[in-house]
Symmetry: C2
Subunit: 457 residues, 2 copies
């Protein structure tokens, strides 16, 4: 069920046909990339290049211009201004249900650009069409393989399907988001970049994702929110559907506000007001894309995190154990004393020269007896004294297989486990990811993400 | 000139001969690793394995026990307690000038261990010998190739010479420090792990490094400071010699204090007191090893950073530009308006649809015209309106050579440049490191490190 007060973005994201106006034979040009991506990723709908100077583009027959008979759902406008304006009007006349306007040089540039942008929005509204942009990087639906974008992110990465969606004014940050998400082993659902927001704003994008059955987690990059009430209703709908929203809000500083205005013409406004709005909406604010992906990995990890905050910490370094305690304390997580039964069991396992307490330091002794690690992790996995295991490793390439086996051994026992491995060998990183265990390479980000994801659980 | 009030650690770090008591034929065992490392890294002094059960160890003739006639500078004790105690006494009788005690199970474990530890310290003092440890990972002098340690860090990394030194109670964190420093392209000078600090504490280690001509930058991991007045004098000596000290202080929280006590028997004490001491000493406190290495890269970079705080920012993403402004504002760096002359020049270079201001967004237009980047960077490098260039890139593997060439082009112009490249291709990372340009993959850590390193300039 759609969020009240908004036209759905379904015509855009669930399009059965896509025209590329200004299609280029060069797959590296802005007008060539969407054609190449749609083909390469296997878009399930019809691809229609439009270019009066060509009969075919990248092997696909090309039209000189669109007409109603072509029955196109989405038209991508890849031409520069002022030709772009004329192209939008032609596409509206041809009955396109949605238009994606890549071109820059509108409200973000000057008053004349702002005027043109308003005129296009009025024309789209009069035609009952969705207008995305201008000055945007388009949309992606990983499930239907609709790549209506010229983002360079897809030069090098695949597009795995999943339940993580992006929305934001910035297409470039969306590209980095995608690269980071995919590198972290997360699958993508929808990707919506709104640019100057002549018509579709982040609020409409959120409203769509709130009710999209293929989206469970939403990452947002926000410069401004032009329709706060709609945004609030959309966030409530997302919460009601059990979805989590993580958001970066830029323009906190005066220079940052000047920068967002130059970027998309957005008025970032007072940060405290935004902070309240995001908090009221149950949205977790994050500072960076790195943090967003870190929290996302934990939110989507299995077994799910509980809201409980008690950590059982295992380390190969007493110093690291101390730093983990400090970092846990900073974010409201506890490293409690363990039960008498756990202590008895651990004292049987650990070397005689180790003081037995939480954090549990297995010391370098683990190098000569790796079974120590398996036994300690198993004790914590079965313990009632902690809810999450935090395992700290460093280097130790010579016993990586045994350490990975110890982690694999306790996974089926069903207790969430987070691994911090400083200087992990690259193949060990891949093996950890394959085990579905969230991996970090530094202490405070791991604990901060764990705390944030736990609050969202 | 030595810092008054301390015996120098020269006998330890400038040893001409090293005995390994409890030497093992197995290069993966604690008693075998130092032998293997000393040989492999080409120690310039004499290597003497000691083991009553063997004639040779790893191809080197082996002694049953040490005597005065062997004239050994440093004895490494790799035996477990209680044999370790007897070994220390034998080495003192044999006239060793310094003893490194790896073994654990002393003050960090229980009262009996604390008693043994005090007895060893008294014996060493009576003999006029330096005692490092117990429960430590020893020392390294990269310049003489003295690796008196069993750290697993050296399994996989080389030991490049340089001017960056480590001191700290924790050997494991020292190992991660070394891996991170070397991965970041930094060269190592000295590495001192003090463990339980029966005699040598972080203060003596700092006093040595303060006057060591091969050390310019010191990274410290501190659980407690047992001799604060000596530490203060040592820090002053380091400052007077133009050296920079970066320190992690653990045990900020109650659980962290419990953890450091279990680790090395240290009493972490009130954090506010330590915070004042570190500030009074002119020491920059960092939260993590990652931050320590980030700041170190900037402190050691060429051309040197000035204390001035004006950034010229170039991005390929307006969103990233806004986030850079926010992050700069958080740490007291400015992104000022540029001079009229700079603006005129930039408006000639940038595409017509771009609003010309700092941060300068070259937009995706750089993909089709990479000369844009060279011209913009050159303008900033010659500008009097900014002191440091911050360049933001993201992905863009298809034009990486041109982007790297643009960076290389402006390096000789002598203005510090920091590069933030999200999702950089691995070969581009290596190329940036080869250019000597500090590289980051996220925005706030880059700006925070820049601010911290600028304050230290």
């Amino acid at each position: 069920m759609a969020v009240p007060g908004t036209d759905s973005l379904a015509p855009l994201l669930e399009a059965g046909s896509v025209a590329i106006v200004g299609a280029s034979a060069d797959p590296l040009k802005i007008g060539g990339r969407p054609v190449e991506y749609l083909r390469r990723f296997g878009y399930r709908g019809r691809i229609v290049p439009v270019n009066p100077n060509r009969n075919e583009v990248q092997g696909i027959p090309c039209l000189p211009r669109l007409t109603r008979a072509d029955a196109i759902d989405v038209a991508i406008i890849a031409a520069p201004v002022p030709g772009a304006n004329e192209a939008v009007h032609q596409c509206l006349e041809a009955g396109c249900k949605a238009i994606i306007l890549f071109s820059a040089g509108y409200a973000e540039l000057d008053q004349a650009g702002a005027h043109s942008q308003r005129a296009l929005a009025s024309a789209a509204a009069a035609a009952g069409a969705v207008l995305l942009g201008p000055n945007c990087l388009g949309v992606i639906n990983a499930h239907t393989r609709l790549v209506a974008s010229f983002t360079t992110a897809l030069e090098s990465i695949e597009l795995p399907c999943g339940s993580f969606s992006y929305l934001g004014q910035s297409g470039a940050l969306g590209a980095y988001w995608m690269e980071k998400a995919v590198s972290a082993g997360l699958g993508i659902s929808k990707w919506i970049t709104t640019g100057n927001e002549a018509q579709v704003t982040v609020a409409e994008a959120l409203a769509y994702l709130a009710v999209d059955p293929q989206t469970r987690l939403i990452g947002a990059y926000i410069e401004d929110i032009k329709r706060p009430e709609l945004f609030r209703r959309a966030a409530q709908a997302a919460q009601a559907a059990g979805k989590t929203i993580l958001a970066i809000k830029s323009g906190r500083s005066a220079t940052g506000q000047r920068a967002v205005c130059a970027h998309t013409g957005a008025q970032a406004g007072d940060d405290a007001t935004y902070q309240s709005l995001l908090r009221d909406c149950g949205i977790a604010r994050v500072a960076t894309l790195t943090e967003m992906i870190d929290v996302a990995r934990l939110v989507l990890s299995e077994p799910p995190l509980s809201k409980s905050r008690r950590l059982g910490v295992v380390t190969v370094s007493g110093g690291a154990g101390a730093l983990i305690c400090d970092a846990a304390d900073d974010v409201g997580l506890s490293v409690p004393e363990l039960s008498a039964a756990d202590m008895t069991r651990l004292s049987e396992i650990l070397p005689k020269f180790v003081r037995c307490q939480n954090p549990i330091d297995v010391t370098g002794a683990v190098v000569s007896d790796t079974s120590l690690m398996t036994s300690v992790l198993e004790t914590l996995a079965k313990s009632g004294s902690c809810d999450v295991i935090v395992l700290f490793l460093g280097l130790m390439g010579s016993i990586k297989e045994q350490l990975l086996a110890a982690v694999a051994h306790v996974r089926p026992l069903g207790k969430p486990l987070v691994l911090i491995w400083m200087g992990a060998p690259p193949d060990a990183r891949r093996a950890v990811q394959a085990l579905g265990v969230p991996l970090f390479d530094e202490i405070p980000p791991a604990l901060a993400s764990l705390a944030k994801a736990g609050l969202l659980a």
